[in-house]
Amino acid sequence: MLEINELRKRFAGGPGAPAAKIALDGISFAVRPGEMFGFVGANGAGKTTTMRIVMGVLQADSGSVTLRGAPLSPDDRRRFGYMPEERGLYQKMRVAEQIEYFGRLHGMSATAVTKATDDLLEQLGLTERKNDAVQALSLGNQQRVQLAVALVHDPELLILDEPFSGLDPIAVDALATVLQERCRGGVPVIFSSHQLELVERLCDSVGIVSAGRMVAEGAVADLRAAERNELRVVVRNPAPGWADGLPGTVTVDGDRHTLRATGGDDQEILRRAVKAGRVEHFGAEQPSLTEIFKEAVA
């Protein structure tokens, strides 16, 4: 289990940004083995900063990151796979060579790395480009190479900063499949994204960051349950004043009246609606992750 405890990070002002900036304000969360963790938050919320600290490329002012209870060591990190927000590859190096180089840096043997690279290129649909220089690839394909670099050494944990941005829908599915496979194999995956439907579809848990703090964390279903679910009733052509005394608000669109209410006696509301006219819809609305997100960071 990877635990992030009370991380704080303040960036001193410099020539480019005169004011000092608190990027992380005591963020904490945990990721369990085999869990796909979606890391969401507004621009500048602190996702990238958190991931950089976990990967050891940035030092926190205070707080700790532990793996199975012990502070992370460089050796632990070598077994992680990392895809930074700002992609970086040797532009002139060939695709396969580049992936192999990073595999070797992660401590793989020459034979193991060749096989792993071939498999990955196959999975990511890059086999035909294996001998091309990276700079000859389209942005999306470079991103696939970047992902391969993060995956080649069969990492124990994956930290991916916006891995889906810039990918076409087919590549998104391919990447999602790869990640789900790794996850089923017991590898925790932490990824940040602004594509909330995707996060909702893929993740076991999500964490919502706002201004350097975790404001909501847990399974998407639990977050929903925590929200007060909204009841939505649509009645056709009801008698005027049918909803008087009921909680919530009514909006009228032609002869269609919609009542949205939170709390109150739903059975009583149903009885009144049936009496008033033809009930077209009656049900609890599940908030989408987008709504939960907006609520949480508001």
């Binding site: 050891g56 970086g88 990073f102 840096l105």
Partner: protein, 369 residues
Amino acid sequence: MNGLMLVARREITTQVRTKGFVIGLLITALLVAAVSFAPKVLGGDDSYTLGTVNSQQLPLQAAAPDTTFEWRAFPDEGAATQAVLDGDVDAVLVNGSKVLTDGKIDDELGVLLQSVNREVKLGAAGVSIPPLQMQSVGADTRYESARAGIAVVLVLVLFMLIMGQVMMVAMGVVEEKGSRIVEILLSTVRPWQLLGGKILGLGTLGLINLVTILVVGLGSAMASGIATDFPPGIPGLVAAVLVWFVLGYAFFAALAAAFGSLVSRQEEVGSVLTPLTMLVMITYFVAFYATNDATGTLATVVSYIPPFSSMVMPVRMAATEVPLWQVGASMAAMVLAVLAVLAFGAKIYERAVLRTGARLKLGDVLRTK
């Protein structure tokens, strides 16, 4: 294989595979060979073809052992004249009393013919003159010009190789920083491994260049025969040059990495490196000055001061005899300086290389932890 070696190997294979490296190496080799043959081609003729008409060959060989003489006999003066005019022979001795030449005779050959002729005639008359004994009361200056020439070439080679490789180190650092690849690299290897591997790899390429130059240079010097003018102790000098290259390169490369890590764009490399390139240039100029005055106080003193010693000491070693203890002391000082600069460079690099964006100030980097 550990991180450092992997990084070094990548640097080497990437460079070796470029056309630039191979072509550069070939051009260097050709240039060096040309320089080594040049004195032979441009220098005076030291072989003569001579003719005789009704004369004895003169014992010129005994008087000028380093020169080769070829003799031809002609039946009469007419045939000899034609041969001289055709340029087939340099001079023809006629009847033991007259020399035919085409225009003014080569000075050296003229003096030689006159003096040997006189000696032969006197000898026939029973007079023998013992040759003058030459004795130098000053320093052994036989190899002075050869030594000075070697020193000039050496310092130029050292300067160009060090400058070239040091620029590559800085550019490599900036490439990795600017492209942000350093972020993934540093999540797998330690900063000192990344930096050390780069310095080691590019240094190895520099050594390959240097060895090529030395081998081609010495090889062509031997082939062309000018190696016979070389002073003794060339193997020692070659070994010392290799060591001095490694030390000088390590010193400047560590600084180049530190300065390079302050910027994120290739366009800024030149300006951020200016103090360093100045230092390399000054070192070169001092060393070049020392080629003229290798025994002077300036050269002697500066040959102990890092990093100047990395070029001045090899100049002194080439130009004069330097006692071994002096070389040792100077090398020891340089090794200490290299270690200090490596530690300093690694510290700056580690702190600066992840801070992309605007150019950082050295002072700021030193202050922040």
